[in-house]
């Protein structure tokens, strides 16, 4: 009788291993670490999102609820990925949160133009993330504390 609860998948596109580790650790305490898919460069991210190469199988590339996107990535820029997402009919509804190292980053402007949904200044902590989700309209904490979880 209960609806099947879809896991709350988070796609983290971040080349810096330390930063990715910090995010994971912050989420670990809330037992969410396993819902994070970490991709390390632009090329890999594109393959995941457009289901190419090793991510051709949709089971290996489930659609995330939210994308955390670092802009400075090897091979392909974060802005290029953002553009690709927002230009694709199937992907453009996915909320993209841009990770930036500075509040005054000129990339914020560029990302806004490309319809980024929100911004987070690194480091990304769980608290910041919750607040962000609230802002984006996800009552995911509610979901998390539901008796069905």
């Amino acid at each position: 009788m209960a609806e099947e609860v879809k896991p709350f998948e988070i796609l983290l596109i971040e080349d810096n291993d330390d930063h990715a580790a910090a995010v994971k650790r912050s989420f670990r305490k809330h037992r969410l670490e396993n819902h994070i898919t970490h991709l390390k460069d632009g090329e890999e991210a594109m393959n995941y999102l457009f289901r190419k190469g090793e991510f051709e199988d949709p089971l290996k590339s489930p659609r995330p609820k939210v994308i955390l996107l670092d802009l400075r990535l090897p091979k392909l820029d974060g802005l290029d990925i953002l553009k690709a997402i927002k230009s694709d009919d199937q992907l453009k509804h996915l909320p993209v949160v841009v990770l930036t190292s500075s509040r005054t980053d000129q990339d914020i402007e560029k990302a806004t133009e490309l319809h980024a949904n929100s911004f987070v200044v690194k480091p990304v902590s769980f608290d910041k993330f919750v607040k962000l989700m609230d802002d984006l309209g996800y009552y995911w904490l509610g979901y998390h504390t539901s008796p069905l979880g």
Partner: protein, 674 residues
């Protein structure tokens, strides 16, 4: 005679005997008886003198008559006692009447006069009769026909005794023709006078002293003096001192008969002191009868003309100075291409003098390389009436040519002005400037990218440090030993990374400061040194290094080029594949004015879309490999500092990569000269 006398007939005869004349009167005396013997009386009188007088008188009368008749002079005589007026035939003719109609009285004469002249004639006549004045009158007579004649009359009173005036004898003669001629002359003279007086040209009759005795209004206006003032002044008094000598000399020559006329341009002083420029024409006038000589001077005010001319000269001179001051070539041509005006630069260009070229076609002097185009463009201007700009090259000089159409009053192109400018230097400067601007723009973009990169990439390890120090505190509180170790490892790694990046940046910044003294660098030796340095790495990866051909010797900083080859070879080795006998080829191709050096490998290659990114700062192709992504940035910077260019070519993944860089030949040239 005597027989007849005795026959009873008287005779009265003159007898000439020798030079004498005798009057002989023979009278028969009366007979008292028939038989009485007839007696005659003869009287002889010597009348020689008397006869001679008579003859003389008759002679005189004849002559007088002849004279008066032939001269058309009428003679009259008025008897004052009887009032009888006797006219000769000519008098009737003069008064247009005849003997029958004329009543032979004083009043009849008076009636014959023109009514307007009667009173005056009568008065003058009375005066003459009274002896106050001689009768010497002129009056008009009016004929019946209405014709009016002018008569001149003289009369003399004849006195029989001292106090008795008996007769007046006079003559009349017709002066109509003279009178008319005189009037005509007067009219003509007046006409001339008015004409002279009002002529727009200054006219004066100058006497031998140089005084303009007659002077007309134009000359009075010109000089500001009245006619009287002028007539008493010699022209020397109002002539400009600089022009005086010449004028005076010519004037004297005129008077001396050495010349008939002269014409000069000279300056006068106006009464108020102004200088007046005039054109003067002087001629000598000699009367037909008199020996008088008059000098006629004609003076035209040319001050305005002169001023205009001076202004024109000034403007022409300044124009000439202006065009001569320009080091561009300027000339003015007629429709046939013949030179009207040209400047010094043009003379220099065509190596000729002004007199050699004026009036000749400029196109005859042009170099065969440019003449055809320029002639065609010149024709274009004539056809289109529009300015034509074009460039051509002559003796390695780039010339910017402009033909300007110049229109006459009708709007037709009558002349064409040419302006030719050597723009070689300008073009070079423009090119240099453009290159500099491009370079600066590139530098600016690079700098922006650099700042961006630095701020992002340096911030990254700091975020790591900040985050994991936070975790570390937490882990210490929780006594989570395993995590503590991980935290410390990450913080240490980030610090190391930060330090490495800062060192690399410092290294990179040194490249830009181009203070190193260039010295000859043999790239063959450099490659050898690098090969030796990287022996261990090359051996580990089993890479074969091949030198395709000899590399150039350049003039540069050897340290920098060691960095170039070290980084490039190291990259090729690092990204070699294991399965295809990794090989690196090194060489240089000489092309035009530059050397193209290359380092070619058969390694993992790069996707074409990433070939530019690999040169960016902190751009790491593979995050797992050591290094900070600075090597290719450094190489690029070194090559560009030396005026070169660098790029990567790859057919794609696993097709190997070739890095090319250009070395400008000036690096090589300098190397050889040193």
């Amino acid at each position: 005679l005597y027989k007849e006398t005795f026959g009873g007939i008287s005779h009265h005869v003159k007898i000439n005997y020798l030079e004498w004349v005798y009057r002989v009167v023979t009278v028969p005396l009366p007979q008292f008886a028939d038989d009485e013997e007839r007696l005659c009386m003869a009287i002889t009188q010597d009348v020689t003198q008397e006869t001679r007088m008579e003859e003389k008188l008759r002679d005189t009368n004849e002559r007088f008559k002849l004279a008066t008749d032939s001269a058309g002079i009428g003679v009259w005589e008025l008897n004052l006692n009887t009032g009888e007026l006797v006219w000769d035939d000519w008098m009737f003719k003069l008064y247009g009447t005849n003997k029958k109609e004329f009543s032979s009285t004083y009043d009849a004469w008076l009636n014959g006069l023109h009514p307007e002249d009667r009173e005056r004639a009568e008065k003058e006549f009375s005066q003459a009769v009274r002896g106050e004045k001689e009768f010497n009158a002129e009056f008009r007579v009016k004929w019946k026909t209405g014709e009016i004649r002018h008569i001149k009359a003289y009369a003399r009173v004849v006195r029989e005794s001292d106090d008795e005036v008996n007769r007046i004898i006079g003559v009349n003669f017709d002066v109509t023709e003279q009178k008319r001629a005189k009037e005509a002359l007067a009219i003509s003279e007046e006409r001339f006078r008015v004409m002279l007086e009002n002529a727009p040209l200054g006219i004066a009759l100058v006497n031998g002293e140089g005084k303009p005795e007659f002077n007309n209004r134009a000359i009075q206006d010109l000089l500001g003096y009245s006619a009287e003032e002028l007539s008493t002044k010699s022209f020397t008094e109002f002539t400009h001192p600089e022009d005086l000598d010449l004028d005076w000399k010519l004037f004297q020559e005129l008077l001396d008969g050495k010349r008939k006329a002269y014409s000069i341009e000279k300056r006068y002083f106006h009464k108020d002191g102004d200088t007046i420029w005039a054109k003067l024409l002087v001629t000598i006038l000699r009367g037909q009868h008199s020996t008088d000589q008059n000098v006629m001077a004609m003076v035209e005010n040319i001050t305005e003309q002169k001023k205009f001319q001076e202004q024109l000269e000034v403007s022409e001179k300044s124009l000439r100075n202006t065009i001569n001051a320009v080091d561009s070539i300027i000339y003015l041509l007629d429709r046939n291409g013949k030179v009207i005006i040209l400047n010094k630069s043009a003379l220099k260009e065509y190596k000729c003098t002004e007199s050699e070229i004026l009036g000749k076609s400029i196109f005859d002097l042009m170099s065969p390389k440019v003449v055809k185009l320029r002639w065609n463009q010149f024709q274009n201007v004539l056809l289109s009436s529009e300015v034509v700009h074009f460039e051509d090259t002559q003796d390695r000089k780039i010339i910017e040519n402009t033909f300007y159409p110049i229109r006459d009053k009708k709007g037709d192109v009558s002349r064409v002005a040419y302006y030719g400018r050597d723009v070689t230097q300008l073009r070079e400067q423009q090119d240099a400037l453009e290159r500099m601007v491009t370079e600066l723009e590139n530098k600016n973009a690079e700098l922006e990218r650099f700042t961006y990169t630095v701020s992002h990439d340096l911030r990254s390890p700091m975020i790591t440090i900040e985050t994991f120090l936070g975790f570390l505190k937490e882990d210490i509180d929780n006594n989570d030993t395993e995590s503590i170790e991980d935290d410390i490892k990450r913080v240490t790694g980030a610090v190391k990374s930060l330090k490495g990046m800062l060192d690399a940046l410092l290294d990179l910044s040194r490249v830009g400061r181009f203070t190193d003294n260039p010295s000859p660098v043999d790239l063959n030796i450099i490659v050898g040194e690098v090969q030796e340095l990287l022996t261990a790495l090359i051996n580990t990866k089993s890479v074969t290094l091949v030198i395709d051909n000899e590399l150039p010797v350049i003039s540069a900083d050897p340290v920098r080029f060691r960095q170039v080859y070290q980084n490039l070879i190291e990259n090729s080795v690092k990204f070699s594949r294991e399965d295809n006998n990794p090989t690196i080829n090194i060489g240089a191709i000489k092309e035009n004015n530059q050397y193209i050096c290359y380092i070619k490998d058969n390694g993992i290659g790069i996707k074409p879309e990433y070939s530019d990114r690999i040169f960016q700062l902190f751009e790491k192709f593979d995050p797992k490999l050591p290094g900070y992504g600075i090597g290719l940035s450094l190489v690029k910077r070194i090559i560009e500092t030396y005026g070169g260019k660098i790029w990567a070519e790859s057919e794609g993944e696993n097709s190997g990569t070739t890095i090319y860089f250009i070395l400008p030949l000036n690096l090589i040239d300098q190397g050889i000269s040193e």
